[in-house]
Structures are given as structure tokens and as C-alpha cells.
């Protein structure tokens, strides 16, 4: 993963966010957030009343003005949180937009048109063919229909090493905004200008297309309901107070109202959502919708491709097993010589292992004529002066030598196959020297990762084209919970449907076109950026690094997003207890001196108590902005442990923190003589 120079917050970002938070005071902008909208309306009424008091010289006008001021601050802080979160996305969008320059492109009438016509990139339509050559910017999303070229995708992925793009297969898609480094391609345009992947990405990171996710909608309803309840509480308090012979100033009631409604979570809710998307973005994953990120937190089953995710993808030599009467070193030297000119990853791994096992002074230096692998013989090797060395599949080598492996070797060959490995035989002329054990190597750390997922209640399922025996062995070694062997795209789709019928949410990643149906069916589908357009279209997340293990990270980000929302909601509601204890005695103590017992914080005066509660209410938003943007710390654990921890920190903390905070502010307010 690489970082982007513009994604780090800097002072300019804060200045922009500050300006934006004032601009967000526009009623239309406020309407999107019930709690903050109500706060702003209350602040407006309070301001008018405080100004009237000031004009008429009524007592307490000073404190009322301060209350009005802090109510506005509360709204501004909420706006600021949102603007700051959006700002980080905007910075990223600007750097993306820079790659979207209008250029001239070479339009082809047909695939082998010798005379391309130069047109503006903005005029391209889907289905048209264009030629791009070394140094050209790829104008928009397209499919390669001819040629092989290396493409610099750093503008999109941040990865500086160029990647190969070629016609046919799973590497045939190119993205607008990337640049050809060498060679040329003929492309068929897939996306009209303004609708390319890059455009969607810009819209996503800017938050322009951000729609509220299901949980966010439900939470908004809850917060609106609570706001309504507290409105009832404060509105009815006036008649009750009058009955008791107390007149509560409207400004004070307004202060009580705003401190009770869940302004903290109301103000930070959208910032949490935007920041979650941004975290994903910094992990180089583009979410096509926020819904997918949220669904990632809910995932019960992870489908992981064996190759590339669980294993390195290539079989590697693990051991040399000599035949009867052959000494180790003889076999290793023969295997080394037979593999020197073998460029396949298997061949290289045999050479590596042989070099590691042989003493430094005992390296064979002979050279001869290399024999390349052919489909007929299924052997490769080398012809040295006077002897022929071959290595290959067991039956092929047996045919070459005209002999069978001795029973001892035979038994070990069978054992290799049973364990999920691949045995190769090495022969010199008509003598079988021994076997090489090739095995799938599990990536380091994968086992621990799966154990973590299991602790979170997520089941991992390995998908492989291997036979069930091999699959079972690798599954056991990697520690996955289940596997799907000899998997075809249809089997994957069926498996996902079965899991979903059992009430489970499934996540998978894929890159090939034949993965597209499964990607579309999965609740969370991550397509590799290197994948085909069909796969990218079907998925709801795209990993720019094309790293299949990223799926796990996506799940973590999703969970962290939900936890952050829940934690701040709990905190916000728990805060109300202290606010009651600050404001109620202040309202009633004049009429019922006995109610001073409720003033557990021993606040200085009724005025200072109310003002302190309002100030706390505003400051807590700004204090929690970093937490909202960063997300609540999340370590993989079971639900019970997470709940215990978060309930202790945000529930209990939410009860206690405002008692301390309001008391401290009261001391300050009193010391400064503000009330």
C-alpha cells in the first residue's frame, strides 16, 4: 500500500473546513441532519431572545447571550466535523482530477485503421476504438482488444511499478487517467466521459454521491425520536414549573433542550461515515457505496481464493527424497542441473532449495544442452556430456527410464500426494534418482489472521481448483474453517446462495469475468483492479492494489465504522444524566431550596451551572472529532468482549465524563467571572 501526498490533513485543510462549516449554516444544508437542524433553530430563537433582553436591559442578558453563542458554536463544531471529514476526501479528489486533463486521442475507424483521426477525449463514446501509444494518457475506461503494453497506474493506485495490460484474459481492462509507459494498445471505449471509474471515484471520495447507509438511516430515526421526546420534556416543563410557582426563562429551557438532545452523535454521525470511507480509500479500496462498507462489518463467511490469498500461488520445492541406494547429494546435484534452465517458478524454487542444501564448495559447474518442457514428453532437463538428466511428473519419468520407482520411494511419493503436495521424479538416463516434493507454501501470518477472524465469529472458506485431497491438506495447514475443492464459478455461486439462505452474509473477492456472477451475488464483493471490466462492474468494492488479502481489512474497516457509531451514540445518551444534575437544581433551587441536594457537582451558581452544561455540550463535539475521524480503536475479538469493553469505556465513561467536564468548566467560568 502506498500513501498519497494529498491525503494527509494539513493546516490548509483546517482552514477550508472552517470556512465550509460556516457555509453549512445554510438552512438547506442543515435540513439533512435533524438534531443539528433543531439545534440551529434553537440557537436562532435564543439569540433573538438574548438580544431582546439586552435591548430592554433585562437581568441575565449577558449569560443569555453567552448561551446563545455556545449553541451556535455547537452547530459550527458539528459542521466542522463533517467538513473536515469531507475535506480529506476532497484533497484526494483534487489529485485524481488532475489526471483527468482533456487530451487529443487517436480515434480508429476499425481495428487496423492505418490513419487514426485526432479527436478531443471529451467527445468519445462507448464502443469507439482508439489507439494509445507510449506516453499517451488513457482517456477513459476501456477494454484492450489488441496489443500488450505496460501501463503506469500510479495516478489511481499510487503504485509506481507499471503493470502489464493485454488483450484477452483477465488483464484486459484499463482505467482512464493511467498512462502507457511502453508499446501500444488498441482500446474499445467502455465508459462515456464523465461516467468512468475515475469520475465515480472522484464523486465517491468527495462525498457527492454519498447516500445514507441503512444503519445510519435507522440511527437517524432514533436520534430524531429522542429529540422529539426531549422537546416534549422541555416544553411540558414550563407548565409544571408554573404550577410550582417557578418561571423558567425561555433561554434556559432552550439550553436544557439542546444539552439533552443527542447533539454529540448527531453532530459527528456523518463525519464518522465519511471518515470510514476515507479509511478504506487510504487502504486503496474504492467502495462503490457506503452500504457495502457497512455490510462488510456484518460478514459471517469469507470466501478466499487459495492462490494468492492463502498460498503464494506457486508450488515450491520443499524436500529432496532420494531413491534406494542414491545418496542425497547425488539427487540434489542432478535436480539442480536439470532445473538450471527452467524458468518456471517451480524450477527456480528447485534451484534455490538445492543451493541452500549444497555446501558452497560443492556446486556443479557443468553445462550442456537444455531440454525444454514439452507437452508430449512432459519432461525437462539437460543433456550433459555422457549423461541425460530429466525431471518431470512421476509417470513421465517412469516412461523415460522404463523403470518403476522402488517401493520405498513409491511409498514416499504417495505420501506427498496425500499431503496435498506434488511429487516430481529426477532421473539420470535409465536410473530414477529420487523425488522432489513440491508444495503449496502458505503465506506467513495467514493462520493467525484466520484465528482472529474465527474469534470475531467469521468463518473462512478456501476456494481452490485443487482436488479435495490436496485442498483438505492445505485447508488444515492454513487453518481455514472449510474449503471448496475443484471449484467452478457455478459452485461458487451455489455456495454463496446456500450460505445466504442460512442467514449468513458472504464476502468474496475475484478478478476474472467468470467471477462476476458470484461477485454480484455476494453481499460484499471485492474486485481486483487488475480484473476484467465485468468483475469490476459486478463487485461493490474495488481493490486498487489487487491484493486478495485486503478483504480482511475491508471487514475490519466495516466493523470499526459500526462500532464508532454505536460507541458515540451510547456516549452521547449517557451524557444526559450529568446534564440533568447540572441544570435541574439550577432551575428549581430558588423555589425549593431542598433541591440543592441534586447539585451533586456543587456548581457555583444556577447561571454558571447552565452555562457550563451548554459549553460542555459544544466542546465535547470538538473533543471527539479526532475519534470520529480515526474510528474507535478496534482489536479483533468476540462480540461479548467487545461489548464489555466498549460499554465500559463509552457507556460508563459517558456517564462520568460530563460530571468532571461540567465541574471543570464551572470552575473556569466562575474564575473568569462569566456567570
Amino acid at each position: 500500500m502506498s500513501s498519497h501526498p494529498h491525503s494527509r490533513p494539513h493546516t490548509g485543510l483546517y482552514a477550508t473546513a472552517l470556512r465550509a462549516s460556516v457555509a453549512k449554516l445554510h438552512p438547506r444544508a442543515l435540513l439533512g441532519n435533524a438534531v443539528i437542524c433543531v439545534t440551529a433553530a434553537t440557537a436562532a430563537v435564543t439569540t433573538l431572545l438574548a438580544l431582546r433582553d439586552l435591548a430592554t436591559g433585562a437581568p441575565g442578558a449577558g449569560v443569555n447571550l453567552q448561551i446563545a453563542f455556545w449553541l451556535w458554536v455547537c452547530v459550527l463544531f458539528a459542521n466542522f466535523a463533517e467538513a473536515l471529514a469531507e475535506g480529506r476526501g476532497k484533497a484526494r479528489a483534487d489529485s485524481l482530477r488532475a489526471t483527468k486533463a482533456e487530451t487529443m486521442v487517436k480515434l480508429l475507424a476499425q481495428e487496423d485503421d492505418p490513419a487514426p483521426r485526432l479527436v478531443a477525449s471529451g467527445s468519445l463514446r462507448a464502443g469507439q476504438l482508439v489507439l494509445v501509444e507510449t506516453g499517451d494518457l488513457i482517456p477513459t475506461d476501456a477494454e484492450v482488444i489488441r496489443g500488450v503494453a505496460s501501463v503506469d497506474e500510479s495516478a489511481i493506485t499510487g503504485e509506481s511499478a507499471p503493470v502489464i495490460r493485454e488483450s484477452g484474459g483477465d488483464r484486459s481492462s484499463v482505467t482512464g487517467g493511467t498512462r502507457i509507459v511502453s508499446d501500444s494498445l488498441v482500446l474499445r471505449i467502455l465508459a462515456e466521459p464523465g461516467k468512468s471509474f475515475l469520475d465515480r471515484m472522484i464523486a465517491m471520495v468527495e462525498g457527492a454521491e454519498r447516500q445514507k447507509t441503512p444503519n445510519e438511516i435507522a440511527l437517524n430515526i432514533l436520534l430524531a425520536g429522542l429529540t422529539l421526546i426531549f422537546l416534549l420534556v422541555t416544553v411540558t416543563l414550563q407548565p409544571f414549573a408554573r404550577y410550582s410557582g417557578i418561571a423558567i426563562p425561555v433561554v434556559t429551557l432552550a439550553a436544557l433542550f439542546v444539552t439533552l438532545i443527542p447533539t454529540t452523535i448527531g453532530g459527528l454521525l456523518s463525519a464518522i461515515g465519511i471518515a470510514g470511507m476515507d479509511r478504506l480509500m487510504r487502504a486503496n479500496v474504492i467502495a462503490k457505496s457506503g452500504r457495502a462498507v457497512e455490510a462488510a462489518g456484518d460478514v459471517d463467511t469469507l470466501l478466499l481464493d487459495k492462490t494468492g490469498t492463502i498460498t503464494f500461488g506457486n508450488r515450491m520445492a520443499d524436500a529432496f527424497l532420494p531413491a534406494q541406494g542414491v545418496i542425497d547429494r547425488q539427487l540434489i546435484r542432478a535436480a539442480l542441473l536439470a532445473s538450471l534452465s527452467d524458468d518456471t517458478p517451480e524450477g527456480k524454487s528447485i534451484v534455490d532449495l538445492a543451493h541452500r542444501l549444497l555446501p558452497a564448495d560443492d556446486k556443479p559447474a557443468e553445462t550442456g544442452a537444455p531440454i525444454a518442457f514439452s507437452a508430449q514428453t512432459r519432461l525437462s532437463g539437460v543433456d550433459l556430456p555422457g549423461r541425460r538428466l530429466r525431471k518431470g511428473a512421476v509417470d513421465a519419468v517412469e516412461r523415460f527410464t522404463g523403470r518403476h520407482a522402488d517401493p520405498g520411494l513409491r511409498a514416499r511419493i504417495d505420501e506427498i500426494a496425500r499431503s496435498g503436495g506434488t511429487p516430481l521424479l529426477v532421473a539420470q538416463d535409465d536410473t530414477i534418482l529420487g523425488a522432489i516434493h513440491l508444495k503449496d507454501v502458505i503465506k506467513p501470518g495467514v493462520r493467525d489472521r484466520f484465528a482472529e477472524l474465527r474469534a470475531m465469529g467469521i468463518r473462512t472458506v478456501m476456494i481452490t481448483g485443487d482436488n479435495p485431497l490436496t485442498a483438505a491438506a492445505i485447508a488444515a495447514e492454513a487453518g481455514v474453517d472449510d474449503f471448496l475443492a475443484e471449484a467452478t464459478p457455478e459452485m461458487k455461486l451455489d455456495f454463496i446462495r446456500r450460505e445466504q439462505a442460512g442467514g449468513r452474509l458472504v464476502a468474496m473477492c475475484g478478478d476474472g469475468s467468470n467471477d462476476a456472477p458470484a461477485l454480484a451475488q455476494a453481499d460484499v464483493g471485492v474486485a481486483m483492479n487488475s480484473g476484467t471490466p465485468a468483475a469490476k462492474e459486478a463487485a461493490n468494492l474495488i481493490d486498487l492494489d489487487s491484493d486478495p488479502t485486503k478483504l480482511i481489512e475491508v471487514v475490519m474497516v466495516g466493523k470499526q465504522l459500526l462500532i464508532s457509531r454505536g460507541a458515540l451514540t451510547t456516549f452521547s445518551i449517557a451524557n444526559d444524566v450529568a446534564k440533568y444534575f447540572a441544570i435541574l437544581p439550577a432551575l428549581f433551587v430558588a423555589a425549593f431550596p431542598g433541591l440543592a441536594v441534586l447539585n451533586v457537582m456543587n456548581l457555583h451558581s444556577p447561571q454558571s451551572a447552565i452555562l457550563s452544561a451548554v459549553i460542555f455540550n459544544a466542546l465535547i463535539i470538538v473533543a471527539l472529532i479526532p475519534l470520529a475521524l480515526r474510528g474507535v480503536r478496534y482489536a479483533p475479538a468476540g462480540a461479548a468482549a467487545l461489548l464489555r469493553r466498549n460499554l465500559a469505556i463509552y457507556g460508563l465513561g459517558g456517564l462520568i465524563a460530563p460530571f468532571l467536564g461540567i465541574k471543570a468548566i464551572d470552575l473556569a467560568v466562575t474564575a473568569l467571572g462569566l456567570a
Partner: protein, 558 residues
């Protein structure tokens, strides 16, 4: 020490009784064969034939809710007619005239909604026919309605995907036939044995030892008292309810009645666990309710036995029950939405009044009404799970069902009805001159009287502070309407939530699933009820009982 031991025995008996009743009720409401099936099965089937009910025809939430509303509307009309016409109807030995329209409206709603708020005095204003065919019938039917809705909601929460909520008519029949009637029979006989009258002849004319003529009102008392307790109705035969020596003569009758108040609500917790196929779920809800009940009882007991420093507070209490048994009853009758009393709540210490009001204001979910307590608590469960469920990093789910926007909307709608009814109603009552006429005393205690009345009506409890004059036209009308709000503004959304949940796939339980059993969840649920339910009323309680208590401590009385 003696008292505490008694409380412990009471709680143990209550738990065991509720547990056993739940075991009995499970087959009754899940189509199995229960203990009484051999005897009552033919009666049940015969009844279905006569009434044309197809008991095996399931209803979705809308059909179920519609049946509830329709049936209760008919019940209201019937009862209203009886009350208005009782002067002309038979079984009226004391020649009691028709009830006034507004009072009849209030009384009919009160009994149909299981509130049993009594703005009248039973022995003086009701004929025997009105008592038996009117009130006692509604005592059974309103309780059975609560139980049916409770069972339907349980089915929605716990049943398989796509399950219907059951058949309202069958649930009603079974609740009455298998649960309420047999239990009432047992309790009624016990009460008769303790000396509670059960007769169709009118008041007894006696000559006292001093030679004075005295009229002692009598009637079918035992039968009505049995169902008033078991069905969390609370409407007594006599105006002073179970404080009356003929309604509640002995310690034994007192304990039996007190247990009966909480028996079915407790059983519903365990029934929930059983029907969920995970009894721990039932225990968790029982524990949450139990913790709050015991906490409330502790405060009332402490306040009443401490009194105002001159020994226990015995004002308004029966000498034969004393402070401890009166405290237990007061806690039970306000926690469950019963409303019967064996002492005058008006005369309790302010802190006791505070607890009684909170018990009602949280929505009668501390055991609550029969069936109603459970579905009321499930409302809080939905909110608690939604609030804290996000903190485990998943979309909140309860029993495998996701809690989403629709459920939250419905839960908030239902939840709003408590503050709207109680705070709104009480606030108007505290401002209108016409309404203020009902308040006997000034100062914080007067406010408490108003607040208590509205909490009681919206919570469908039915008890009252004695000083409150409930029989004015304003109060009978306002309280009547609010009883409707408190009943149906919760029943309909809860059935809708049950219907919505029933339509959802159940996700399997994994390590990542939010645990809804065990002490952590119990704590969370108690905190949710306290912070969301009780704190809403903190400001007005501060002006009522809390102000009264703080003034009392300062030597001032109201």
C-alpha cells in the same frame, strides 16, 4: 430481618410459580397438549364450532392487530351500554341508577384497556350485573387480550422465518380457558375460604353491637378479586380495593393476592425463553425486571419503615398488614400494571411515591401487565440492542433478526406514547383551571397527584393517589383517551415490529453475535430503561416527589 426473610420467600415463590406456569403455558400457546387438555380440549373445540373460529388459520400482524382492535371496540361498546342501562337491567338489588355518560366512557375504556382506573365507587355505583357481566367479563377479556398480543409478539420475535403471529381468536380462547379461568377458580376458592364474600344477594343489613343499623355492601366479591389480581386489572369490588377487610381479610389472602399480581407477568418472561428455544433469553429479561423490582421495593420499604423519624409510616395503611406488606404490595401493583391497593398510596412517603410513579412511567415493563409487560420490555430490548449492538461491529440483531430502520421507527413511535401521554396530559392538567379542580393539595404533592394519575392512566395501571378527584368531566375524558393511547399506541407498533422481524431470515449465532443473555445484557437493559425511560420524567419528578422529600427533610410539609 423478619420482613426481609418474608420478601425472600415471596420472591422465591414468585419465581418458582412463574417458571412452572410458563412450562404449563408453552403447549397451550404452541398447539401442544397441556395438562388440562383432556378436560378442556372438548370445551375449546365446541366453542370454536359455535363461534365459527378456525383456530388453525394464522394471521399476519395486520390481521392480528385488526382483530385486537375490533374485539376491544366491541367490548367497549358492550360495557358502555351495560353501564348506561344498568338501572333498567336485572340483577340490581340495590336499585343503582345508570352511570353518567362521561364516567361510563371512562370506566368502559378503563376496563377494556386492562387499566381498571376507577373514577367511581363500585359498591355504590354499580349493579351486580354491571360488576359480573360488565367488569368481571372485561377483567378476563382485557387480560386475555394482553396475553394474546404478548404471545403473538413472542411468535414474531422467536418463530421461524415467515411465521404468522398466530390466530387472535384462538389465543384469546386459550388464554381465558386454560390460564385465567383455572387460576381464578383456585384463587377465588382460596379467598372465599379466607372470608371474602361471594353472593348474588345485595348488601347485608346488620345491627351493630351499639344497636346502630349498618348496611354492608356485598356481592360476587371473591370471583372479581381473583381475576382483578391474576389479570393485572386491579379494579376492586369495593372503592378502597384490597384495603377493604371483606376484599382482603387476612395475611394469607394478602400474600395470595400479591403473588397473583405478578404471577402471569413473570411466567411470560420464561414463556419467552421457552418459545425462543433458548431459556437464557427468558431468564435475562426476568433478571432485568427483577433487579428493577427489587430496587424499587427496597426504596419503598426503607422509606415506609423509616417513616418521618417517629417509627414506620402507618398513615393510610391497614394495621393488619403493617408497613412491610403494604410496601411489597405497592411495589408489586405499580410494577405490574395492576393498580389494586392494600394501602393508600397518597399517604406513602414521597420517595415511595417516586418509585411508584417511575414503575408506571417506564411503561409498565417491570413485569408489567399480563403479556403487556413482556412486549413493553421487548420494546426496550429493541432500543437497547440497537443502541449498543452497533458497538460489537455488526448491524444490531436480536435472536438472529436484524434491527433496522423499520423496527427502530416503530419502536420510537411506541416509545413516544409514554412521554406524550404522561407529560402532555399532566402538563395540560397542571395548567387548566377546570383540571386543577381535581387536585386536593397544593405544592409538590398536588403535582404528584396529577402526575400519578396520568402515569397510571397511560401505563394502564389504574391506581391513584386518593386526593385526586378523578370524577370531573375533564379528567374522565382526558384520562379515558390517554388510556387508549397507552394501550394501543404500544400494541399496534409492537405487533408491527413482530411482523417485520418474523419476515426476516434468522442469522446463525456466532462468536460475533451480540450476546442477549447474561449479566452484561441485563445491565444494559436496566440502564436503557433507566436512562431512556425514567430520566425523561426526572425534571417533573424533581418538582413533585423529589421536591416534596427535600422539603420534608427541611421540615416543611405539604
Amino acid at each position: 430481618m423478619h420482613d426481609l426473610l418474608g420478601y425472600a420467600v415471596f420472591l422465591a415463590a414468585l419465581t418458582a410459580g412463574g417458571w412452572a406456569l410458563a412450562a404449563y403455558m408453552q403447549p397451550v400457546f404452541t398447539g401442544g397438549r397441556s395438562l388440562l387438555s383432556p378436560a378442556l380440549g372438548p370445551v375449546e373445540r365446541g366453542f370454536y364450532r359455535i363461534a365459527g373460529i378456525r383456530a388453525d388459520q394464522p394471521q399476519g400482524w395486520k390481521a392480528y392487530a385488526l382483530s385486537v382492535l375490533l374485539f376491544n371496540l366491541l367490548g367497549f361498546l358492550l360495557l358502555y351500554a351495560i353501564l348506561r342501562l344498568q338501572g333498567a337491567l336485572p340483577l340490581n338489588p340495590d336499585a343503582i341508577p345508570a352511570m353518567a355518560p362521561d364516567l361510563a366512557f371512562n370506566t368502559a375504556i378503563s376496563f377494556v384497556t386492562n387499566t381498571n382506573w376507577q373514577a367511581y365507587s363500585g359498591e355504590a355505583q354499580l349493579s351486580s350485573l354491571a360488576q359480573m357481566a360488565g367488569l368481571t367479563v372485561q377483567n378476563f377479556l382485557s387480560a386475555a387480550t394482553g396475553m394474546a398480543v404478548g404471545v403473538a409478539v413472542i411468535r414474531g420475535f422467536t418463530g421461524p422465518r415467515g411465521a404468522a403471529l398466530g390466530n387472535f381468536w384462538a389465543d384469546m380462547t386459550r388464554a381465558v380457558l386454560y390460564v385465567l379461568l383455572p387460576l381464578s377458580l383456585v384463587l377465588g376458592l382460596l379467598l372465599i375460604a379466607q372470608g371474602v364474600p361471594q353472593t348474588l344477594s345485595g348488601a347485608a343489613h346488620v345491627t351493630t353491637l351499639q344497636g346502630a343499623e349498618q348496611l354492608i355492601p356485598r356481592g360476587p366479591v371473591a370471583s372479581q378479586v381473583a381475576i382483578k389480581q391474576l389479570g393485572t386489572n386491579g379494579g376492586g369490588f369495593y372503592g378502597v380495593n384490597s384495603a377493604h377487610p371483606l376484599e382482603n381479610p387476612t395475611i394469607l389472602s394478602n400474600m395470595a393476592q400479591c403473588l397473583s399480581i405478578l404471577l402471569i407477568p413473570v411466567a411470560f418472561c420464561f414463556l419467552f425463553g421457552r418459545m425462543a428455544g433458548d431459556r437464557r433469553q427468558g431468564w435475562a429479561i426476568f433478571a432485568a425486571m427483577g433487579v428493577m423490582f427489587v430496587a424499587g421495593l427496597a426504596v419503598i420499604y426503607w422509606a415506609e419503615t423509616a417513616g418521618s423519624g417517629l417509627g414506620a409510616n402507618m398513615e393510610g395503611k391497614e394495621q393488619r398488614f403493617g408497613a412491610a406488606l403494604s410496601a411489597l404490595w405497592a411495589a408489586a401493583t405499580t410494577a405490574a400494571s395492576n393498580g389494586s391497593v392494600n394501602a393508600m398510596h397518597d399517604s406513602f412517603m414521597p420517595l415511595s411515591g417516586l418509585v411508584q410513579m417511575i414503575n408506571m412511567q417506564v411503561g409498565e415493563v417491570i413485569f408489567g401487565g399480563v403479556g403487556a409487560g413482556l412486549y413493553g420490555m421487548l420494546l426496550y430490548v429493541v432500543l437497547a440492542v440497537f443502541l449498543a449492538g452497533l458497538m460489537v461491529g455488526r448491524t444490531p440483531e436480536y435472536l438472529g433478526r436484524k434491527i433496522e430502520a423499520r423496527e427502530v421507527t416503530l419502536a420510537m413511535l411506541a416509545f413516544l406514547s409514554m412521554p406524550l401521554g404522561i407529560l402532555g396530559g399532566a402538563a395540560i392538567s397542571a395548567s387548566l383551571p377546570a383540571a386543577l379542580a381535581s387536585v386536593q393539595e397544593g405544592g409538590p404533592h398536588g403535582l404528584s397527584e396529577i402526575l400519578y394519575a396520568y402515569s397510571s392512566a397511560v401505563g394502564n395501571n389504574g391506581s391513584a393517589f386518593a386526593g385526586f378527584g378523578a370524577a370531573t368531566q375533564w379528567q374522565t375524558t382526558a384520562l379515558g383517551l390517554l388510556m387508549l393511547l397507552g394501550r394501543y399506541a404500544i400494541i399496534v407498533p409492537m405487533l408491527a415490529i413482530a411482523g417485520a422481524l418474523a419476515a426476516k431470515t434468522r442469522a446463525p449465532v456466532t462468536l460475533g453475535t451480540f450476546p442477549t443473555h447474561g449479566p452484561l445484557f441485563v445491565t444494559l437493559l436496566v440502564l436503557t430503561v433507566t436512562v431512556l425511560g425514567a430520566l425523561t420524567f426526572f425534571p417533573v419528578l424533581a418538582l413533585g416527589p423529589i421536591a416534596e422529600e427535600s422539603a420534608r427533610l427541611a421540615g416543611q410539609s405539604f
